[in-house]
């Protein structure tokens, strides 16, 4: 899916688990994009010690798998729990960003996040690390750009497109699972698999 010229107003990344092949190329490209060597995967991996952690995590319980990253929630628990105000939700785009200059690494946000998509920064600094929508690179998320099967895609917040054409109610695709994200609320189907 083309991700150039994204209008930053209220876009989110959604996953289609029926096409996720569990390769984790999204993780590899996320790591590379956030490393010192953005254009060189080999160097990014071989020269970074410790190996960076990706901000997208592929959850898997075969045959179901899908990439999961920060949902940039409407009512973000991490923002509420942040004691320094480092976690901020941009009022226009709705993206939740961690201001690293303010983060003190208390990890309250990691505890609070219902999706488990915040991690400790792998560079050893005491800051929280999570999906930032690749804003620093012009807002073209590396995971979406490099997914080999278009299993993650950009869509308007709250309006994920169903894959292919409308299926009949009750139809399941061949792998048997279906995942829906809800913007608000903590319960999601199919998300228990960790």
């Amino acid at each position: 899916m083309e991700t150039s010229e994204i209008d930053m107003k209220r876009k989110r990344i959604y996953a289609r688990e029926e096409y996720c092949v569990g390769c984790r190329l999204c993780e590899i490209h996320c790591i590379t994009a956030h490393s010192r060597y953005k254009d060189d995967i080999v160097k990014a991996f071989k020269k970074s010690a410790p190996r960076p952690l990706p901000r997208i995590i592929v959850e898997e319980s075969k045959p179901v798998s899908f990439g999961l990253q920060c949902r940039h929630c409407e009512e973000p628990e991490c923002v509420k729990s942040c004691i320094t105000g480092a976690m901020q939700k941009d009022p226009e785009t709705g993206i939740v960003k961690n201001d690293e200059t303010r983060c003190i690494g208390c990890w309250t946000c990691i505890l609070a996040c219902p999706y488990g998509v915040i991690r400790r920064d792998s560079r050893g600094k005491k800051i929280a690390s999570k999906c930032d929508f690749c804003l620093e690179d012009g807002g073209e998320p590396a995971c979406v750009k490099n997914c080999p099967n278009e299993a993650i895609y950009i869509a308007d917040a709250g309006k994920p497109i169903k894959s292919g054409e409308a299926e009949e109610p009750g139809e399941t695709n061949q792998s048997g699972g279906s995942v829906e994200y809800e913007e608000s609320g903590l319960r999601e189907k199919g998300c228990e698999a960790r």
Partner: protein, 500 residues
Amino acid sequence: MSLSYQTPEFIVERNRERCIDCQVCVRQCANKVHSFDEEEQKVVSDDSKCVDCQRCVCMCPTRALTIRRNPLEFRENANWTPQAIKDIYKQAETGGILLTGMGNDRPYPIYWDHILLNASQGTNPSIDPLREPMELKTLLGRKPEALKIENGRLAEKLPPQLELEIPIMFSAMSFGSISLNACESMARAAAELGIMCNTGEGGLHRKLRRYGKNTIVQVASGRFGVDADYLQTGAAVEIKIGQGAKPGIGGHLPGEKVGGEVSQTRMIPMGADAISPAPHHDIYSIEDLRQLIYSLKEATNYEKPVSVKIAAVHNAAAICSGIARAGADIIAIDGYRGGTGAAPTRIRDNVGIPVELALAAVDSRLRDEGIRSQVSLVCGGSIRNSADIIKAIALGADAVYIASSALIAMGCHMCQKCYTGKCNWGIATQDPDLTKRLNPDIAAKRLVNLLSAWSHEMKEMLGGMGINAIESLRGNRLMLRGIGLNGRELDVLGIKAAGE
């Protein structure tokens, strides 16, 4: 356990400078070639399981992998080739029939590559497809010998026709031999391109019924999935007498590939081997075929053309003459290079004849008997590019069927292991872990891209010949010349030699 003489066919070469041990290859190989050694903390490969499907090569983010033929060499022997020797080792160990997938890979001559096309020079202008209309629309079906006109109006309707925007259709590939995602991709592409897609002998999955207008439903010897609804849904019905990859025998789907969806669509028990009988057990002679053709016409109220598909064999011309007189509206001829999900190697490689020769012979024979208008001819097995299509039409075909080309467009790398059910590209498998790899959004687009590209190329070639409508190329043998062919071959093809 005694020593196995089978050695790896392929070697996996990993460039350690580039490998980042990301394990994408480990996760992606259905044959479990790659694994992560915890102790050494790196990815290692077991060459003996590699089938050269190249999934890992394509997926590797740093292009660290390549696959080579195992350079292990026997002493040179033009008669006992390595393949001949290895086949015997395999059979001595297993006692079984050698199975393979896709089409005949033997080095027999490819007649398409011995045929050259004309271009207009001087006495006749070539036509520029970018500036003039160039028509590829094709209608398949029985044509009357004359139109009945009364008072300047059509007095009698024509027999039912299939209308194709371009003379290419997706050939029969059963749901079961290929995944539902693959079937859906082709159905969607057919709808977008305005052409047809053939169900093969696996029936029509309920999810694909909405593409009925662009579907030819097949009635094969196993009659899988055939019921009244099935016949009504399709735009045409095809009786499969044979297929180019395995003339004389029926389809074979191992029980492992018969899961819930396949079972429901084919109307057979789960886990049961789906073995189609060699003949239709109600067609033992040409008059029986006539009976079935008309039964199907009755069942569909004479509203749909009925097609008959045969493998290209020795007396194809006489057989097709019989089929035309038996009432078929379309005849599909499948050459020996046709692909399959599973076939005994010896039958695939030794039975049948090239479709180029069969097509030429059938077209000439039907014209000699004055019955060419009674059927449309479709040929397949194998059509690899747009030049093959132009040559097929000039030899006499109305349209072509493509299958291997379509699968390659969707990701097939011709490893010929379809029968194992472990297709790493999500095509020839029912394993949900693998089928999800084929995203119909992507695959359908690739098919549309391929056929659109071919259409443009065909228009260029037609324009070069001074033709602006595909029907003026049909059977136009004077537009072809043979190169590197002997006199008999030129005669059978009905074309002159280059220079004449």
